[in-house]
């Protein structure tokens, strides 16, 4: 299956590319807005700050390209900060608007456990993205912010309370964890996305 990976400068694109290939993707890695707008299957990676990632999408007009692709029926998978970018807004250093493809907002998850969360955490999931994955399987997370209790939640995990580990609205998917660092379970999620119609 052909997958277009958005070559974000604020992400470790190489690792995700390798994992997507291992998951069976014919990969096209690009920053070209036109190519992204016409893609059928898109992956939006991201690490670091929401604001910087969003600013880059805006400058490059890739934000519009993503909207166009999704409007034309493309499937989209956001990973980590890429997942957060799908929501309406994030409250990381003030409020920044996101892509608005998934309803909900991203908040810092302060509490007794240290932030950022670094490590494996059990994910309770449902839906096709998690086909073949046992409920409660751990995935690898690195995050200080997360969406909570959004309508589109398809997976949740516990860290300073319950947060959204994955969301889906139509053909737009987001995973807060790093599938490319989650060994077999992570590759299975990517394979499910790569194989979805």
């Amino acid at each position: 299956m052909n997958v277009t990976l958005i070559d974000s400068p604020v992400a470790n694109v190489a690792n995700i590319a390798r994992a997507l290939r291992a998951a069976g993707a014919e990969l096209h890695v690009t920053r070209d807005a036109a190519a992204i707008a016409s893609a059928h299957k898109l992956v939006l990676p991201g690490v670091g700050s929401f604001g910087a990632a969003m600013a880059w999408l805006h400058e490059t007009r890739i934000d519009d390209a993503i909207h166009e692709a999704v409007a034309n029926g493309a499937a989209l998978l956001g990973i980590c900060v890429g997942h957060q970018l799908l929501f309406d807004a994030s409250h990381e250093m003030g409020t920044t608007r996101g892509l608005g493809l998934v309803r909900g907002e991203v908040h810092r998850f302060d509490g007794p456990l240290p932030v950022p969360q670094i490590g494996w955490n059990r994910v309770h999931a449902k839906g096709s993205l998690f086909d073949g994955i046992e409920n409660g399987t751990p995935f690898y997370f690195v995050n200080s912010y997360a969406a909570r209790e959004v309508d589109s939640e398809i997976a949740s995990a516990e860290y300073n309370g319950t947060f959204t580990a994955a969301a889906q609205e139509g053909r737009v998917f987001g995973v807060q964890f790093h599938p490319e660092k989650s060994s077999r379970a992570g590759l299975r999620v990517l394979r499910n996305f790569v194989a979805c119609n």
Partner: protein, 480 residues
């Protein structure tokens, strides 16, 4: 898991004794004022010990206990209860349960259960080196632990308070081994007492499964533990998997290993090792460039390209530029050591540039001080103080290696780990000394580590990563 604050009363005030010695009494204040300051939630249990009563053999602090019992708390009181009359006096004060120590091995226990029911009696069993002690820690009892619990069980008493008196108040951690032994020996639930001095102790006790509550005394009074934080952490951390991390010490493109950082020998091909470890269930991989000159950057690239688990890389990182290059080579996180000791701001700079999650402080401790240059040189810097500073500067996790234990298979340095984990909010990776399966358990359970690291043990196939994870799971520690 119930958190049970403990107030020891003497002459109307809250005190603490060390090793049961009245001469060492440290005064904390009036009971009600102390209780107010502890932020105990409504309906919680409160453990009160009438110390003078335990010495003289009759209830003394009844007026204070009456006041405490009027609050919305489940009060249990202990101290020198020797007769049904003593017990009745305490119940008349409004307490829910009485804690009977000396009586646990006398016929009085039967009479008390007969008179008041098994749920209102909490036998208190003091143990020193596996032997039951009675009479305010002075006389030694002739009965075995198993015999005592057989009696308790036969009387349908659901819970017993167990104190390892060799540890009480010494802040060296609870007696996990004793409670684990009791899990095999009895169905009676245990209220753990003694040695609970940091949040991870409570998490570890809860994971044992047979511990229904823990009494927290000094740690609470000295504000080492905050009840609210413990409750939240207990709820959150209980099921979070702890990590097992193989470490590849790399030089000239090969995995090598030495003892206490010396006598280096070849231990295999990095890529082969890395792939095998992922297959075995490793949660993360660490590569340390032991030449300390970043000559292993190509090895990092090759390993990063062959695994789908997180990779942390350290060794010879001297600048933000080195840090960036290492991330670009495929590392998810980078460990800084010597350069940060020389210039602590490097931690803050890397944390700002790449995020807290990317920065690991690698601290090599020798005799409590920081060692540099692969353990060859000991600085004057206190290792624990340095870890705290690194946390403030923006390190996301600490890789704490005991140079003394490294390669010895003598077990992780639990005291070093506790010293670190009791004062840090960020996670600590235990490193140096792993030899047996139980060592990994102890580093997490007693040491409070959030991850355990080993090298030669895995390279030499003495143990596999899978062996360690299965063992941890069997011991109640969640793993992936």
């Amino acid at each position: 898991m119930q958190l049970i604050p403990s107030l020891d009363l003497l002459n109307g005030r809250v005190v603490r004794l060390t090793q049961g010695d009245f001469a060492t009494a440290k005064v904390y204040g009036e009971a009600e004022a102390v209780l107010d300051a502890l932020d105990v939630p409504r309906g919680a249990r409160l453990h009160v010990v009438d110390l003078e009563a335990s010495r003289s053999g009759r209830p003394i602090e009844t007026e204070i206990v009456r006041k405490l019992a009027r609050r919305d708390l489940v009060v249990q009181v202990g101290g020198g209860i020797r007769s049904l009359d003593d017990a009745r006096r305490w119940f008349d004060c409004g307490v829910e349960r009485i804690v009977v120590g000396t009586a646990a091995v006398t016929s009085l226990l039967d009479a008390l259960v007969d008179a008041f029911g098994p749920r209102r009696i909490v036998p208190a069993i003091d143990v020193r080196d596996g032997v039951v002690r009675t009479e305010g820690w002075i006389r030694e009892s002739a009965v075995t632990l198993r015999e005592v619990f057989a009696r308790v069980e036969a009387l349908a008493v659901p819970e017993a308070l167990v104190t390892d008196i060799s540890k009480d108040g010494a802040l060296r951690g609870p007696s996990f081994a004793l409670y684990r032994e009791l899990r095999r020996a009895t169905r009676v639930k245990i209220i753990a007492s003694g040695g609970v001095s940091q949040t991870s102790d409570v998490v570890s006790l809860a994971r044992l499964g047979n511990v229904s509550g823990c009494v927290i005394g000094r740690a609470l009074l000295e504000q080492r533990i905050d009840l609210r934080a413990v409750r939240a952490r207990l709820a959150a951390q209980h099921a979070v998997p702890e990590r097992v991390i193989p470490c590849l010490d790399v030089r000239d493109g090969r995995v090598v290993k030495g003892v206490s950082f010396e006598n280096i020998r070849d231990a295999g091909d990095p890529v082969e090792c890395a792939m095998r470890y992922e297959e075995e269930g490793a949660d993360e991989l660490v590569i340390l460039d032991i030449a300390g000159n970043r000559s292993s950057i190509d090895t990092v690239r090759l390993v990063a390209e062959s695994i789908f688990i997180p990779l942390t890389v350290g060794g010879g990182i001297r600048s933000v530029g080195d840090f960036r290059d290492t991330l670009r080579a495929g590392a998810d996180r980078v460990a800084i050591n010597t350069a940060a000791l020389r210039r602590p701001e490097l931690i803050a700079e890397c944390s700002r540039e790449f995020g807290v999650q990317a920065v690991v402080l690698s601290c090599d401790a020798k005799g409590g001080r920081c060692a540099v240059r692969g353990g060859k040189e000991i600085t004057t810097v206190d290792a624990i103080e340095w870890c705290r500073r690194a946390e403030q500067l923006g390190a996301g996790e600490i890789l704490l290696t005991s140079v003394d234990r490294d390669g010895t298979n003598a077990g992780f340095d639990i005291e070093l780990l506790r010293a670190a984990t009791s004062v840090l909010n960020i996670g600590v990776i235990a490193s140096g000394g792993a030899g047996r399966l139980d060592d990994f358990r102890d580093a997490i359970e007693a040491g409070g580590a959030r991850a355990v690291l080993a090298a030669s043990l895995f390279h030499d196939r003495v143990l596999t990563v899978g062996d360690v994870k299965r063992h941890l799971a069997a011991e109640g520690i969640p793993v992936r």
